[in-house]
Symmetry: C2
Subunit: 326 residues, 2 copies
C-alpha cells in the first residue's frame, strides 16, 4: 500500500473530514473563518545545515506555512513553533539567527509569534511550523472549486528553486565561475517569499475558483486540484513560465531534470501559487503578473501536457511526500 492509499484508508477509518486542503478552514466566529496550518520540517530532509544558514532555516520554516495561508487567499495572523532540538544546536549561534530568520519574515507580513514548544530531540532537528490566519466566512479558496473551461494559472516563474537545490547539492555554490550565474536560483531555494499578497488579491477580487501552493511541483500539485474538483486538466508546455535563470545553469548540473521545462514542471519549492480562474477574468489575472498555462476540462481522467502540437500524459514526478500537509 503506498503512502497516499494508506492516508486515504486512515481518513476513511477516522472520519478526518476536515483535512485535505492547504489549511483547515474552521467556522470560528460569525462572519470570519479560522485558517490553521501545520508543517513539519525535518533536518536532512526538508533543510540541510550544510548549505542553509540558521537564518535561512528560520525564514523557510515560517514561509512554508504562510504559503498555505496564501493558497486559501487568507490573512496570516499568528505563528507558533514547536521544535525538537538536538543538543548540538541548543546554543545562541544557532537559535538566535534561526529566530531572527523567523522574525524578519513575520514582520514583513505582520505576523506575530504566539508561542509553541521546545523539546530535546536526540534525532535530527524537527520544526513544526503552525500558522493561524483568517478569512471572511465561506470565502477561503479551496482546491475543490475548479470548473470546466477555467484557466489554469500560476503566480510566477517555476523551476528556479529546484535549480538552486541542484547547485547546492552539487557543491557548485561559491565556486568562482558559476557563482554569479547561480545566485538567483540558490536564493530562490534558500530565501523563499510566500505569495500572501497576491493570494489575497486574487480572492478579494473574486478572480479564483480554486487554489493550491506549489510545494511538490506543478505536476504533483495540479492533480490535487483536479481530484478535489472532479475535473481534468490540459497544460500547454509553451505557456509554462520557466525560470529564466535555469537557462544559465550547466545542463549536466541540472540532471536528473533533463531540461529547464522539466525542472519547471517537476521541481518543487518555488512558493508560487497554482490556481484556476474563470476565462472572463483572463486580462485581470495577467495584469497581476500571473501566467495562464492551460485549461480545466470536464473529463477527470485527463491530465495532459501539449507541446509542438502533440499531447502526452503529465506524470507527477516531483518530490514524493511521505504524507500530506495541511
Amino acid at each position: 500500500m503506498n503512502e497516499f492509499d494508506f492516508l486515504k484508508k486512515l481518513k476513511q477509518n477516522f472520519n478526518f473530514d476536515l483535512t485535505g486542503d492547504d489549511c483547515a478552514v474552521l467556522p470560528f466566529a460569525n462572519g470570519t473563518d479560522l485558517l490553521v496550518t501545520a508543517d513539519m520540517l525535518v533536518e536532512g530532509i526538508d533543510f540541510r545545515l550544510e548549505w542553509a544558514s540558521p537564518e535561512d532555516v528560520g525564514r523557510k520554516s515560517l514561509a512554508v506555512s504562510l504559503s498555505d495561508i496564501a493558497a486559501m487567499g487568507g490573512d496570516a495572523k499568528w505563528a507558533l513553533f514547536s521544535m525538537g532540538i538536538p543538543d548540538r544546536l541548543w546554543n545562541e549561534d544557532f537559535l538566535f539567527p534561526f529566530y531572527n530568520g523567523i522574525n524578519k519574515l513575520a514582520q514583513e507580513f505582520g505576523v506575530r509569534i504566539a508561542g509553541g514548544d521546545i523539546s530535546r530531540n536526540p534525532g535530527p532537528m524537527v520544526i513544526d511550523s503552525i500558522v493561524v490566519g483568517s478569512c471572511p466566512e465561506d470565502a477561503a479558496v479551496l482546491r475543490s472549486g475548479a470548473k470546466e473551461g477555467d484557466l489554469i494559472c500560476v503566480t510566477g516563474p517555476l523551476g528556479g528553486a529546484a535549480g538552486g537545490l541542484r547547485i547546492l547539492e552539487s557543491g557548485a555554490r561559491g565556486q568562482p565561475e558559476p557563482e554569479f550565474e547561480s545566485q538567483e536560483p540558490v536564493s530562490r531555494q534558500l530565501n523563499p517569499t510566500p505569495q500572501l499578497i497576491l493570494g489575497n488579491i486574487l480572492r478579494t477580487r473574486r478572480l479564483v475558483t480554486s487554489m493550491i501552493d506549489i510545494s511538490d511541483g506543478l505536476s504533483s500539485d495540479l492533480p490535487h486540484i483536479c481530484e478535489r474538483s472532479g475535473k481534468g486538466a490540459v497544460i500547454d508546455a509553451a505557456l509554462v513560465p520557466v525560470d529564466p535563470n535555469l537557462e544559465k545553469i550547466d545542463p549536466e548540473l541540472l540532471l536528473p531534470f533533463n531540461s529547464p521545462l522539466d525542472a519547471a514542471l517537476n521541481g518543487g519549492e518555488d512558493f508560487e501559487l497554482l490556481f484556476t480562474s474563470p476565462a472572463a477574468v483572463r486580462k485581470e489575472v495577467e495584469e497581476l503578473g500571473c501566467c495562464v498555462i492551460g485549461r480545466i476540462v470536464a473529463d477527470p481522467s485527463t491530465l495532459d501536457i501539449t507541446a509542438d502540437g502533440s499531447s502526452r500524459r503529465m506524470r507527477p514526478s516531483g518530490y514524493a511526500h511521505f504524507g500530506e500537509d495541511q
Copy 2:
C-alpha cells in the same frame, strides 16, 4: 546559561510577548478569544513504546494539549497533529491504534481532528499536538492573576502518575505479585484524562484567579504562577492530596522519590490543575472535589512548605523541561 535563562534571553531579544501561559490567548473575534497550544512529544523522552501501547500514545498526545486548554478554563474545539514518523512505525499496526487513541479522547470531549502534517523522520517518532479552543473575550484564566491571601488549590490527587512511571521503569508491571496493587498508578501514567470539565466550571463560576496544569510537578509549576503573579506561596504538606495508591507501592520501587509526599510534590504528569481562588469561595471549591493546599502571600521571594510546625523552602525537582511549553 541554563535553559530558562536562555529562553528568557530569547524572549527579550525577539519580543515573544504573547508567550508564557499554558495557551496563547489571541483576540480573534468580538466577544471570543482564540486559544492555541502546541506540545511536542518525542519518543524515548515523553513516551516509550516498550510500555505504552500505540493507543496509549495517541491518547496521551491529545491529552497534553487538552490539559493546556483546561488550564485556561477554555473549550477545546479542534486538534491537528504533525508527526515525524520513522519507517519502522509507518504501518497499520502502529498508526491505526494510535489514531484510535486520539479519536476516542477527541470524541469524549467533542474535539474534531482538523488536519496536520505527516513527515518521514529518521530519528525517534515526534508528535506535535496542536489544539485550538476558545474562551469568552478576556475571560481566559492566566497564570498571572493570583492575589495575596488567595487559596492555593489542586483538582485531584498527586503523585500517582509518577508512581506509575516508576513501576513501568522498574519492569514490575505484569509481575504476578505487584500487579494488582500497581494497576491504578500505571493507568494514571498511561491513560490520563485532562480536567477540561472542571477547568471550565471553575472559570464560568468565577472561582479562580489563576490556573496552570501540573505537567512537571507541583514544585515546578507553582513557581510559574508565583513569578507571573509577582507573589509568593506557602504550602501545607498535610493538605497535599497524596495519591492513596502510592502507599501500596514498595518504597524501594518508588525511589528516587523518598516518600509518597515527595512523589506528590515533585512527580509530574498527573493531569491535574493547580489554581488559586479567593478565600471567600473555599466551600464551593471544596464541593467540586478540589483540595486547598496553601495560601498566596505578598512576598514574591517566599516559596515555602510547612510540615509538623516547621517550614522549609520548596525546591522544584520535577522533570526539568528543556524549554517551555505553550
